[in-house]
């Protein structure tokens, strides 16, 4: 008799569950080999697997589970003790179980055939293990088995497809339920029609003279009156019943919908199940002692986010163990306990999900990183020396940057942290890194609580509904026709003290649109350097949308993130603002703004990062930019070529900003050249010094991110 498909499925589920239990118990047993609760749990898990495998007729698995069960019983009887090697062996058995659980129902038999020899030799080793060291036969009975297990929440499994169908149907129920209220109202109106009927009857009756009517007529009229009254009364009652039903039903559908939405959340502990094992195995491999602590196990996390976090968390974990935690000897020598600790914590903080991974290892060696940056030819020695600590840390996240001397399996591939950052960004979160030299490193992941609901701005483009995530929009603007200017063929408008290009959304999306020159409604979007205006047909307000993944057969559609449905069931497509901004930029490059005579700006700063940043900022606005490393170089450049504006730092080697200013103001050719000083120093005293020396404007370096600098530039040279 062949076990049915559903039996096999049940087996796989049981195998997976019990493997996890066994895995965790074994890891705990390593630290507490005599713990009776752990031994009992392990024994029972192996016993369950044995029983299930018997039903499915997988004989090798039965024997393997039996061999493991025997080992646990032996340990309970104190005949053997489970040391590291023994736990290793038993874990190998667990690996067989979990790998089997991963194969498909049809392939199980085949897989067992292939792994047959491995299983057999493992069974032999386990039998030897069970006999183990000959400790004195003690006649003590093993510990009583009346252990109270903590009540656990019953967990069920369902496919993502089923859940999506449920969500869809619940949503659609709500859409249909919304039809009821307006229908109820129209029935109310009908009630007044009946009332009208009754009044008409009264009018008719009052015009009839009593003596004109015979008995039959009188009887008929009376009956008519009673019938109208009955209809009215019954109708009124039915309406009340209907109103009650509408209110109960709407409430039910809303609750159903909310519950299903909430079922997407899972406790954090679900996502970190395999980590204890990784910590143990990697620690052994590298000769380090490490313990994993998980805090906030019951913190609720969206199941999709949990899934996407597995890979980045694994990588950060491996990183901490291989680079962060020191060897036991090293730790002792600096006064730390031999065992290193890695903490993973999940909590809800300020409307966000915050997941922290920290270790108490050696922290980051900034000088070592600087050397690496130079070695990899990212920067010169001098430039690397000038990087601030946060700037150095940023290099860790560049693709191809690895701090491992050899590319081993562990974490030296040099790809890891970059992938971590990308995955986190994909979810819509960010990573923050802090460390204390010699004390440890912390990675802070800040993520949205759920991916499934998004606050968005609803718009209309070419007759269809679209939505923009609220977090990615700067503003909406209405531009009257007369305020739209043309630069060559490219329209632009003036806002925030600058010229902002205006691009039609339907053009970017390759839809059909009409170019009208009437007033435009535009969404202001930006990347770090500039603003862009995306023109749309209509603005429809803010909505909270439940996000649906689009059919995978469509592939990754450019400019589209996902889909959703409105309250009335209409489809909406959610736009990918990053994609759109990129396309707008390419579109504009093909139709560049012809300069009305391009202004030239000289940037003087000793930090390459600052120079790069300012240059990009200004080039995107259509200025021509040159840069110099210090005051002397800057002065040379000014003497050789014409410039419209200078933006300079104060603290620089080989001629600082103040000296430069004085030189510039002395020179008759350069005397009236506008100079903006940008400096970290922003006290009144420093400002005064700068202005007295001849600065046209004095800005602080904090103002990069709020476009004050751009506004100032525009003010000075247009």
């Amino acid at each position: 008799m062949n076990p049915s498909d559903s039996l096999k499925e049940l087996f796989r589920t049981e195998l997976e569950t019990q493997s996890k239990v066994l895995s965790q118990a074994l890891i705990d047993l390593e630290k507490k080999p005599d713990d009776p609760y752990l031994l009992e749990t392990s024994m029972r898990a192996a016993h369950s697997i044995k029983g299930a495998a018997k039903v499915i007729l997988l004989e090798p698995i039965v024997r393997l589970a039996h061999a493991m069960e025997d080992c646990f019983v032996a340990a309970q009887k104190k005949q053997i003790q489970l040391d590291v090697q023994r736990v290793d062996l038993l874990l190998k058995g667990v690996d067989i179980f979990s790998n089997l659980a991963k194969t498909g129902k049809k392939e199980m038999g085949q897989w067992i055939g292939q792994t047959g020899t491995v299983i057999e030799s493992l069974i032999d080793e386990l039998s030897d293990l069970k006999k183990g060291t000959e400790t004195a036969q003690r006649s003590e009975t093993f510990i009583s088995t009346s252990l109270i297990t903590a009540p656990q929440e019953k967990v069920l499994r369902m496919t993502a497809e089923s859940l999506n169908k449920l969500m869809g149907l619940a949503g659609e129920s709500m859409v249909e339920a919304r039809w009821l209220a307006p229908f109820g109202e129209s029935l109310q109106k009908f009630k007044s029609n009946i009332k009208q009927l009754s009044l008409t009857f009264d009018a008719v009756q009052s015009n009839l003279k009593e003596e004109d009517l015979n008995d039959q007529a009188k009887a008929n009229l009376q009956m008519l009156q009673i019938q109208i009254k009955n209809i009215y009364e019954q109708y009124k009652k039915h309406l009340i019943d209907l109103a009650d039903f509408i209110s109960r039903y709407s409430f039910l559908t809303e609750r159903l919908y909310q519950e299903i939405l909430n079922s997407r959340m899972r406790p954090f502990s679900d996502g970190v199940e395999g980590f204890a094992r990784i910590v143990r195995d990697l620690g052994h491999e590298l000769g380090k002692e490490v313990r994993l602590e998980i805090i906030g196990k019951s913190t609720l996390v969206d199941r999709d986010i949990l899934e996407k976090l597995k890979s980045p968390l694994t990588h950060l974990l491996r990183n901490s163990i291989s680079h962060g935690i020191e060897t036991p000897q090293e730790r002792l020598s600096v006064g730390k306990p031999e065992e290193g600790v890695v903490k993973m914590e999940a909590r809800h903080q300020g409307g966000l999900l915050e997941i922290t991974l920290s270790d108490d290892g050696r922290g980051l060696d900034i000088d070592q990183l600087r050397k690496l940056i130079v070695e990899k030819k990212y920067l010169t020695d001098e430039m690397a020396a000038h990087l601030t600590v946060p700037e150095v840390i940023n290099f860790l996240f560049l693709p191809g940057f690895s701090t491992s001397k050899d590319l081993t399996d562990i974490s030296g591939r040099g790809v890891g942290l970059n992938v971590v950052q990308n995955t986190i960004k994909e979810i819509g979160g960010r990573v923050e890194t802090t460390f204390e030299e010699g004390k440890g490193t912390t990675f802070d992941l800040l993520l949205p609580i759920t991916l499934s609901v998004m606050r968005a701005l609803l718009i209309e483009i070419s007759g269809d509904f679209y939505a923009l995530p609220l977090s990615r929009i700067d503003r909406t603007v209405v531009i009257e026709q007369e305020n739209i200017q043309l630069s060559g063929n490219s329209p632009f408008f003036h806002f925030f003290d600058q010229d902002i290009p205006l691009v039609q959304a339907w053009e970017i999306l390759e839809l059909v649109g009409t170019r009208t020159s009437e007033r435009q409604i535009a969404i202001l979007v930006s990347d770090r350097s500039a603003y862009f205006g995306l023109a749309i047909d209509r603005l429809l307000g803010e909505k909270e949308l439940v996000v649906q993944e689009l059919d995978p057969r469509l592939g990754k559609i450019p400019h589209i993130l996902a889909g959703s449905l409105l309250e009335d069931g209409s489809p909406v497509l959610i736009l990918d603002v990053e994609d759109i901004v990129q396309s707008i930029k390419s579109y504009l490059q093909m139709n560049p703004k012809p300069s009305k005579q391009t202004k030239r700006i000289l940037i003087i700063d000793d930090s390459p990062t600052v120079r790069e940043f300012e240059a990009t900022l200004l080039k995107n606005q259509g200025y021509e930019v040159e840069s110099a490393e210090n005051g002397k170089e800057g002065l040379n450049a000014l003497n050789l070529r014409p410039f419209d504006l200078v933006i300079s730092d104060l603290d620089m080697p080989r001629m600082d900003g103040i000296t430069l200013l004085k030189e510039v103001r002395k020179d008759p050719k350069l005397k009236s050249l506008p100079v903006i000083i940008v400096s970290y120093k922003s006290t009144e005293e420093e400002r005064l010094k700068g202005i007295t020396a001849g600065a046209t404007a004095y800005l602080s370096k904090n103002s990069f991110h709020d476009l004050t600098m751009l506004q100032e530039v525009h003010k000075l040279i247009g």
């Binding site: 999306l509 059919d551 450019p558 400019h559």
Partner: protein
């Protein structure tokens, strides 16, 4: 006593423009009222019309009119949408009207060589073209890819 059981199929008959077509009900997931179709930027074309809401989920909407080169004839009939499914892939297509479900026997099909058509049939005074659902699915599976 019949030697072999005659194979009987259940066919859903619907109208596209002036013509009637049929599809085996086994391939049909459901019939629903006509809904708004949302164009998909960079993807919508003649055959792939866009996305439509079916039971609260966004599904691909295709044009059988385009596939079969038939003109729509909206007239007085309220349009409907038919959802077909095969091996987990679902497509929805609008039709002018749904006429009903008929049983037909294998031999009653008059074979034809027109594209996508298995044969012509006449049952209970309804003449329609029985579509080759295999061919249709294959074409649809290729298109959005």
């Amino acid at each position: 006593m019949e030697q072999q059981a005659k194979k009987v199929q259940s066919i859903l008959v619907f109208r596209l423009g002036h013509q009637l077509f049929g599809l085996p009900t086994l391939s049909i997931q459901e019939v629903s009222p006509i809904k708004k179709i949302h164009r998909i930027p960079h993807r919508s074309g003649k055959i792939l019309s866009g996305l439509v809401n079916l039971n609260g989920e966004l599904r691909l909407s295709v044009s059988l009119y385009a596939l079969l080169s038939v003109e729509s004839f909206p007239g007085k009939d309220i349009g409907r949408m038919i959802a077909i499914k095969r091996e987990g892939d679902c497509w929805v297509f609008p039709v002018d009207s749904v006429e009903g479900i008929l049983s037909c026997r294998e031999e009653e099909i008059k074979k034809a060589s027109d594209p996508y058509i298995k044969g012509y049939m006449e049952i209970e005074n309804l003449s329609f073209a029985l579509l080759d659902e295999e061919l249709i699915f294959q074409s649809l599976q290729k298109d959005p890819a």
